[in-house]
Amino acid sequence: MKICPYCAYSNREGVLFCEECGQILYTEQETTPSTKRLPPGTGGVSAKGGWGTARFNPSATILLQIRDNPTPIEIVPQQETIIGRYDGSTASTPTIDLTPYGAYENGVSRIHAAIRRGEDTLTLVDLGSVNGTHLNGQRLIPNQPRVLRDGDEIRLGKLVCHIYFKTSN
């Protein structure tokens, strides 16, 4: 017998989602490791000099160049583009899944950060990630959007990438 921690319903052994309320009944550790906590001060990346444009053409796309990866990811920005890593155990899916780029090893949270669309700008928001989001070397305060510029350096945990605006013409 397994008592649901959410609604106290007695489920039979082997039931994975409470038959009464849908609560997950197997423990997280059983399936996927949670975001790895990195020792403080790792991955010291220096801020980059010079500023690109902050104006984002509505028809443009974003190129996310991940360090040590030859081909950038092209993103058509939505109202909100969530960056993280998909692991299937949580139902939430990031728009951009960084699993293939070593997201777990580098301490990227499942829901790490988001790129939001403004009038003609883009902003970056940390969504309460474990190891933090850095913009040009500076750690972002969670849930406080910061304007992105062409060529900015973003660090998610220990994963470093650069963002470029690509105008289509």
Partner: protein, 484 residues
Amino acid sequence: MSDLYAVLGVSPEAFEDDIRRAYRAAARRLHPDVNPHRGAASQFREITAAYEVLGDAVERARYDQKRRQQPPENQYFTLKVTPSSRIVPVLSEPQVLYLLVELVPDFSLTATNAHLNLTLVIDHSTSMNGLRLERTKVAAHRLIDQLTANDVLSVIAFSDRAEVLVQAAPLTDKNAAKAMITTLQASGSTEIYQGLQAAYEQNRRYASKNFANHIILITDGRTYGDEEDSLALAQRCVAEGIGISAMGIGEEWNDAFLDRLASTTGGTSHYINSPNVVQRFLEERLRLLGQAIVERVTLSLAPDPDVTVENAFRLSPSAQPLSHESDPLMIGQILPRLSTSVILTLQLPPIPQPGFRSLIRLAASGDVLWNNRGAYQAVADISIEAMVKPPAEERPMVILDALSKLSLYRIQQKAAEAAARGDIREATRKLETVATRLLESGQTELANVAMAEARRLSSTRTLSEEVHKALKYGTRRLLLPSGE
């Protein structure tokens, strides 16, 4: 011809003793005297037939010779079964185990452009008047555009009577067929049986093993008093190899009835919330039928006497609860390079001792449309190990993913059941739970629908049909691989 060695689960080099032992083991599990499950009886008959040949030295030699002369047959599809855990605990009480059953097609099989034998059944009762009927006509026209002269089409219009608009025949004159549909006017009430009966008569004229035979019902009304007759007719369709898919427009129609109609025949039922999307659903259906490489797929379940199948749900190619009171389950089609998958919920009896035990024997059959190869069967016999302290193991992602979404569908059903028996408090609580879980999985829109209804319920006292259908079919659609 099915491979008798595979049916018995022995190698072609097996000794007589092995064959006899395999048969005895099967008899102990599946003989009707010990096993009440319907699927067990039919599978045991097949096993007995195989044993009658292989258990007799002369017959076996003759069979072996015939077998050698035939080119080795392709494995058109295989059964892949994944349990929710590979090792279960030794336990003095019943426990639950989930099985993901995948019918995996051979990857060399490409789209066949299966010839279709399609019957459109259009409700033209008064309530269809206006946009609903007009959009349906347009959708029917588009459908006709996509068919070829190799396909057979018939069209029925029904209200309280049925009228054959287009007689079943290879579609050579598209314009004539379209013109007939254009003339349709709304009048009368809805009697689905009338429409289905006429559709059955038309469709069976061309029904063949080499075709994908399908009836597509488009309605917006509730039918009264003829549900049982319609379901009996659905059984006759199964016997002739005809599937039924149903599309309900708006809120009036009886979802439980249309679901059963589709589930009985291996079809799919859809909720169409706006007349504008009739076309999309119809196209989706056509695409699925037209690509089928295996049609009339069935899955027979023969659990051990002490194991019960509690639930069966098809996840792909389209999500649909399956009716498992009858055996075999009607599964529908297998598409190229896409597994058709079903998730089963089993209840296992108390397991007092560690060790291996058998659980269920599965037999999947279907007509291979690819090059008209005909009937083909794949068999899987599933057993599991029990341990006092099973090691921690990773749960298969596919199962977790499917179950998390399926549990949403189930709670939503419970909310509807509670509302139906007048337990408003329970219904409200269930709706709030659905809303919470939907929100967690990022389905904001559907979550808001559930939340708003939970708030309204205390004053309205009944679950609105619109919300009920939106949630039921909305959560069901979450199960599709694309998450559409």
